[in-house]
Symmetry: C2
Subunit: 403 residues, 2 copies
Amino acid sequence: MEEPATVIAVPRTHRFSEPLPLQSGETLPEYELVYETYGSLNAERSNAVLICHALNASHHVAGLHADEHGRPLPRSEGWWDNMIGPGKPVDTDEFFVIGVNNLGSCFGSSGPTHRHPRTGELWGADFPVVTVEDWVNAQARLLDVLGIEQLAAVMGGSLGGMQTLSWTLQHPQRVRHAVVVASAPNLTAENIAFNEVARRAIVTDPDFHGGHYARHGVIPRRGLRIARMIGHITYLSDDVMNAKFGRRLKPLGDAARQGDVEAVERLAYRYTTQDVEFQIESYLRHQGDKFSEYFDANTYLLITRALDYFDPARAHGGELSRALSAAKADFLVISFTTDWRFSPARSRELVRGLLHNRRRVSYAEIDAPHGHDAFLLDDPRYMAAVRAYFEQSVRATAPREAA
Amino acid sequence: MEEPATVIAVPRTHRFSEPLPLQSGETLPEYELVYETYGSLNAERSNAVLICHALNASHHVAGLHADEHGRPLPRSEGWWDNMIGPGKPVDTDEFFVIGVNNLGSCFGSSGPTHRHPRTGELWGADFPVVTVEDWVNAQARLLDVLGIEQLAAVMGGSLGGMQTLSWTLQHPQRVRHAVVVASAPNLTAENIAFNEVARRAIVTDPDFHGGHYARHGVIPRRGLRIARMIGHITYLSDDVMNAKFGRRLKPLGDAARQGDVEAVERLAYRYTTQDVEFQIESYLRHQGDKFSEYFDANTYLLITRALDYFDPARAHGGELSRALSAAKADFLVISFTTDWRFSPARSRELVRGLLHNRRRVSYAEIDAPHGHDAFLLDDPRYMAAVRAYFEQSVRATAPREAA
């Protein structure tokens, strides 16, 4: 068996000097977007696929990053590298795939950790509130730069799915196919509530300083840790947590993994309220610590707010099917049975609204145990559904004439 | 129609001078329990019903408190006043009902806000870790003081249901009926995870000072707020949150309540990451603020740990039905369909384990929309099930002979 060719991904930056008007009424002056591309744009410029990222991801969708000598860096795979690449479900031998980092992010595109282009001050909490619609408009400008008039497909999971849906409504002529995974036409009250608790943990951290922590030389790590722990719980299913951790205690973790049931049974509670007792606690603390090392607090606020605000039906009296009447794309919608944060019911709402507008829709509800996280994992039925859709539908659709 | 008689509840305190050995191996020296009783103990001392409380409740189960002139205080109803009182499902015209505040609480019984009886120092974080089993043993001693050998019933919801179950295993001869509502034979990993995030929010609050905040004259309010917000989300169902709050924005709350749909539609987003935008946010912040005014942080840690640790099957190789073989009581088990924190599946586990041991079990799965909070609310089917059980089963069971 041959080793698959190593795909080295090279991030590029484009500086836009034309200001971007935002939904909030504010305007972003000049700004930068960081992006990566994989595969080759064909002569007709008709094989481009845009990938939209979710909360804590970036433009680095596929392949590996390289060091200064061009050698691949270990563990630098893109966040959807299982999905996108040569011979993969979204096959970069055939499609020209683009990953863009969104505005407000902390991974390269203009955001709170950057400096205001005029004043030279760090943006911090003053970076304007950006929405899914703003992101899509910024992405559309990047496509203009790349000379891509129409996308073969837009694709994303979770918040990325919201951007995908938004593409079909804001720029219907520019999208032939939309692949919306583990997403929803808006957030429920419960979802907003989880976002709000995470934000409150950050904002009330004494090191937050109203979002200008950088000026004080500190980082609101406590808040970021709590925010990430809450997120992690809600991205997993109860089932997968029970399978992975159950009620196993921390110190004898190794014994448990080795199946030494007796050792686990012998293990006594330590009766502590502040120290780790259960493995699940240790896991969550670790995830929180890691996250607080690399993620920006203001970015966390901005991105969760973009999630909260997204609601295309809002401008149409709350009627989703009226909002969806603008769409011209064909759709593949995918949900996962144990995803309780973006439940199948929400995907079915979207499917119904699209069918009401006589859109062509394929819908797959995957019986996966992994909760919301499933959209990033390797479920073979999920992978096969995406592969089949790209092979049979995306590939077969000729570019649409401009209106 | 006659006004129902006002029941004035009078808290009493009993000081125990005999030390209480705890599950952790530690010993609690002399301690106090605060309790209330409603109705009258009959001559045979056979009509006593013990009510066990959950996370943030107390001994004040029913009736109203009075001011120094004996006048009822407005809004001072006991936390289960809809369930317990004259003519109510647990009828205090017939039963002698006892509410006890648990050890470690901040509502009167010995806990972290009290002083160590020997040293005179505030307990704070040094109050020993107490378990469901410890609470039950302390409650049993109170019954000794009250001259009650055997309970007609023990009853509780959530963590109170765990105490109820524990009563039937630790003191099987002393319980004729057990009413276990919205509870579980142990917590799942997800439940422990939610508790852990709440605890981390408290413990990492700079005002926590390792649990000795009182010495510093501060209170870890930020942590308590976050803990309560998390709790609140998980006690409600997604459905009830959508019905109560949906995606409605804050400022025009009144318009929305008055059905002024157009006003709500006109209402524009304010595009803010730190201020309240949605009503659900305002509600959660309010709940968090209120809680942080009256609840003790060390108590929160102790009580959530008691929840985590409870697991009667643990001493029996994880086999619940082996653990339940000690029980002699009859059971009424009740769960609520939308309760995702203590789901019906967990109650059914308990029911199966009890049936395996040939216990008499009645089980009601109530199709209520309110999530875990349903156990405190007035669902008529729920109330009727409890009423019928007390009228037909508890009343009809003669005292069991001592073994």
